[in-house]
């Protein structure tokens, strides 16, 4: 049994629930069929199991080291990534001309799920590279694509995204990295960048020939002043090594590693403070300043970067999901083999009877069932969102494309935040199932927990996601996104209402959605933006649980159509768990929101 991901579950989600084979109706995927999807999943499972999983713990115990000159890391990281790149996985979703196989996004994400579950630290390098290359593919010029995108899809260059600065994390409007125009070049308008970027994953390493940094910076106005706010931000390609006209590696650019951050988890990924334009060790063209090529229009950088950020947010959700998923499988395996105590039978406990596997204890099954509901639900949501991307990019029906866009807008904060919160909780429960052993570093589950603790923080914190959902997404275009979601949920509710075993859940979900809509209206009727948004993270959680109840009802609908077996029984039981144990948590949250509670808002700094 794989301890990374259940293939039976993945097959169920892809083929029996989402019917991803139907995507072959689009010309882009016409050459595909289930056997090509399966072959990709088989290869991914194999490479993840054989090359990524074995060094997951080693990567954590021997984190990358910076001696002031070079970064060194565990020697199994590079061969694993070489195997990944050689198999063509970096370009899986791309056109054949980029070495790709035009794999649908949903299958690409399912494939990548294996790597995230096997070794999240090593997987961060391809994760960032693919996001970087996709962003440049959309916004770069043909010359920029040739110089920086092709080598990334070929696995020769890796990529990063450089947004945060030591003084500006969530608040991007306050970045001060400066880009001074120098003249035009074959690779676009050329600038000299100076500044510092913080929390840059994959910012320095020797795993690839070159590193392509996508950097947000501000171009000063005629008076040399930076434009305040996000409107002044532009996007730049800053390669570690400049690229010659013939594609060979050129001079070392003026971007240097100032230091590595020492993290709680995700230790296999170098996380860097980068200095741009130090002018001491590297002076390209004999001058200080990191050479950067502008991508897209001046002052429109953040819009371009959002392309990468939205993709990264769903990706972070998937990473959180997979850490929870592998933790759940580890806990399940442990619970089936670890013997401890005896279950009370008819006349009480029989002390002389052999000890039983701990899965025989009801409370252990409760913890496993909670994990199952969180991780399988989260995976289903992430794959659902990925399939929306496929339809959004390929449908020839403009109204359908628009609907997919709206659904993605409103579901992205959930796809990011819900797994980050609840699959982390699953990791906590996995430790609990292991008991004292789970708290030791001899077992794997404590690392999953530490790794997963990052996910509610990066790519927009939990609080930022709450503001995005309540402050922006549910009210965008007069609530069009919320209406689009309401419509798909209503369809599931109608289908489930016709199934006797699911009719009660259908009714509950219908009411829950209704309450959510009422509360949303009420919050926005407050007439005071501070009051509206005061409890947005509670709103995010209530919204997320309602969405997941819908996802579980959908899975139950798919499962009850199949021949009854242990697998389908497990799905139906997890659905029951979600509706009986989890969805009721939403009621008090909505009450608190509807009451416009201001307890947190009214609290004063001095009172702490």
């Amino acid at each position: 049994m794989s301890l990374i991901l259940s293939r039976r579950d993945l097959d169920f989600l892809l083929y029996q629930w989402l019917d991803v084979e139907a995507l072959t109706r689009f010309p882009r995927y016409a050459e595909h069929s289930r056997d090509t999807f399966d072959a990709v999943l088989d290869t991914s499972e194999k490479i993840a199991t054989e090359r990524f999983a074995p060094h997951n713990k080693l990567n954590d115990q021997h984190e990358p080291h910076f001696d002031g000159e070079r970064v060194t890391m565990h020697d199994q990281v590079k061969p694993a990534l070489d195997a990944y790149c050689d198999a063509g996985l970096m370009a899986a979703a791309q056109d054949a001309e980029f070495g790709g196989m035009q794999l649908p996004t949903v299958v690409e994400k399912a494939s990548f799920a294996y790597f995230l579950g096997a070794n999240v630290g090593t997987s961060a390098y391809p994760f960032l590279t693919i996001g970087n290359a996709n962003t440049l593919l959309k916004h770069g010029t043909p010359a920029q694509i040739d110089a920086f995108v092709r080598p990334q899809f070929a696995g020769r260059y890796f990529g990063t995204m450089c947004l945060s600065e030591p003084q500006a994390g969530s608040s991007l409007s306050d970045i001060v990295t400066r880009a001074e125009y120098e003249g035009d070049s074959a690779l676009g308008p050329q600038y000299r960048l100076t500044g510092n970027k913080m929390w840059i994953s994959g910012g320095e390493h020797e795993l690839s020939e070159n590193i392509v940094h996508l950097v947000l910076a501000k171009v000063p106005d005629d008076n040399g002043r930076l434009i305040p706010g996000v409107k002044g931000i532009s996007l730049f390609i800053v390669p570690k090594y400049l690229v010659n006209a013939d594609g060979t590696r050129g001079e070392r650019n003026d971007v240097v590693l100032a230091g590595l951050n020492h993290k709680m988890g995700y230790r296999g990924t170098t996380n860097c403070l980068l200095n741009f334009g130090e002018g001491t060790r590297h002076r390209p063209g004999g001058k200080a300043g990191a050479i950067g090529y502008r991508v897209g229009e001046l002052h429109r950088g953040l819009a371009c970067m959002f392309h990468m950020m939205n993709e990264a947010r769903i990706g972070v959700g998937l990473g959180a999901t997979m850490l929870g998923y592998t933790g759940y499988l580890h806990a399940l395996d442990y619970a089936r083999t670890r013997k401890q105590g005896r279950v009370i039978s008819g006349s009480g406990k029989e002390a002389s009877a052999p000890q039983q596997p701990i899965i025989e204890h009801a409370d252990v099954r409760r913890m496993l069932l909670a994990q199952k509901a969180y991780v399988e639900g989260a995976l289903a949501l992430n794959l659902y969102c990925s399939q929306l991307v496929d339809v959004q990019h390929n449908s020839d029906d403009a109204a359908e494309r628009e609907r997919m866009t709206l659904l993605l807008e409103i579901l992205t904060p959930i796809a990011k935040s819900w797994p980050s919160q609840w699959c982390l909780e699953a990791n906590s429960l996995a430790i609990q199932v292991h008991g004292g052993y789970g708290y030791t570093r001899d077992y794997n589950v404590e690392q999953f927990y530490r790794d997963n603790r990052l996910n509610p923080i990066h790519e927009g914190t939990h609080g930022v996601q709450g503001l995005d959902l309540l402050g922006r997404k549910v009210v965008m275009q007069d609530g069009a996104a919320l209406k689009a979601l309401g419509a798909v949920v209503a369809r599931s509710v109608a289908r489930a209402a016709a199934v006797p075993t699911l009719a009660d859940y259908a009714k509950t979900l219908g009411e829950s959605m209704q309450n959510l809509a009422v509360v949303t209206q009420r919050l926005w009727a407050a007439g005071d933006i501070h009051k509206t948004l005061a409890n947005s993270s509670v709103y995010l959680e209530a919204f997320g649980h309602t969405v997941l109840a819908w996802i579980w009802l959908e899975q139950a609908l798919a499962a009850q159509r199949l021949p009854a077996d242990d697998f389908t029984a497990g799905k139906l039981q997890a659905c029951r768990y979600f509706f009986e144990w989890e969805l009721p948590k939403v009621g008090p949250q909505l009450d608190l929101l509807a009451a416009m509670d201001t307890t947190a808002l009214d609290m004063r700094d001095a009172w702490f």
Partner: protein, 248 residues
């Protein structure tokens, strides 16, 4: 020079195989299947020999039901040029398989027949040897090194005493052992290319082979559970325990 490589679809090596409750066999329904790992090694070796210019064509061959096409597609993605699918839904015993492979080998005029030394489902370790016997050609089994040159093959074999090197005339049967090579991972673009490569479907009748059943399976059962060990306090106690069991 052409090589025929047999690839068998078996229950994946990671699956914990379970015996059916009526003892008629093991559960194969709803269980992950993949290419027999020893056959993967045979495929890899053939592809490496082709990359070195020692082979000009690789033909993958399998016997089995419709799902075996997946295994052939994997072989084609590995690097086989085309494939032959001997369609048969029922159970096939080693001798029947060997007769079919022998007929195909003759028909194709292939110089080398590569196969895994055994398949991990029944571990019979018979088919390759039988193919050689039926055609009265040389065999070099359990290969850990293979060199092809000028109508001959030099094969290093893994035997109980160590390694044995044989030189055999072609055509010959070569069955592959674990240490011969490490099979590559399939490349995604090759998975797409494999879709366009031809698979020829034939039946036993087309090959002039009658499906025999020389063996009957009377019962399948799980191996007996290991009984609990005992701790002895002294060496003397150990020796007497071994003696009483007739082990020394």
């Amino acid at each position: 020079m052409k090589a025929l490589v047999s690839v068998k679809r078996v229950v994946d090596y990671n699956v914990r195989v379970q015996v059916k409750s009526d003892g008629s066999g093991v559960i194969t329904e709803g269980v992950k299947h993949s290419m027999n790992p020893f056959d993967e090694i045979a495929m890899e070796e053939a592809v490496r020999l082709k990359e070195k210019g020692k082979l000009t064509e690789i033909v993958a061959i399998t016997i089995g039901g419709a799902k075996n096409e997946e295994t052939l597609r994997s072989a084609l993605a590995f690097g086989a040029d085309r494939a032959i699918h001997i369609k048969e839904e029922g159970d096939v015993q080693p001798l029947t398989a060997a007769r079919a492979f022998a007929a195909a080998l003759k028909k194709e005029g292939a110089q080398v027949f590569f196969a895994g030394k055994q398949a991990i489902d029944d571990d019979a370790n018979q088919t390759g040897q039988m193919v050689a016997a039926l055609l009265d050609i040389a065999q070099a089994t359990f290969a850990s090194k293979v060199e092809l040159d000028g109508g001959k093959a030099v094969v290093t074999r893994e035997v109980d005493a160590g390694l044995e090197t044989l030189e055999v005339d072609l055509p010959a049967v070569i069955t592959t052992d674990l240490r011969l090579n490490e099979p590559r991972y399939l490349k995604l673009p090759d998975i797409m290319k494999a879709k366009k490569k031809p698979i020829e479907t034939v039946t036993f009748a087309d090959l002039g082979v009658e499906k025999g059943a020389a063996l009957t399976i009377s019962k399948t059962s799980a191996p007996p559970k290991r009984s609990k060990g005992i701790m002895v306090k002294t060496v003397d106690e150990l020796v007497s325990a071994l003696k009483s069991k007739g082990l020394v």
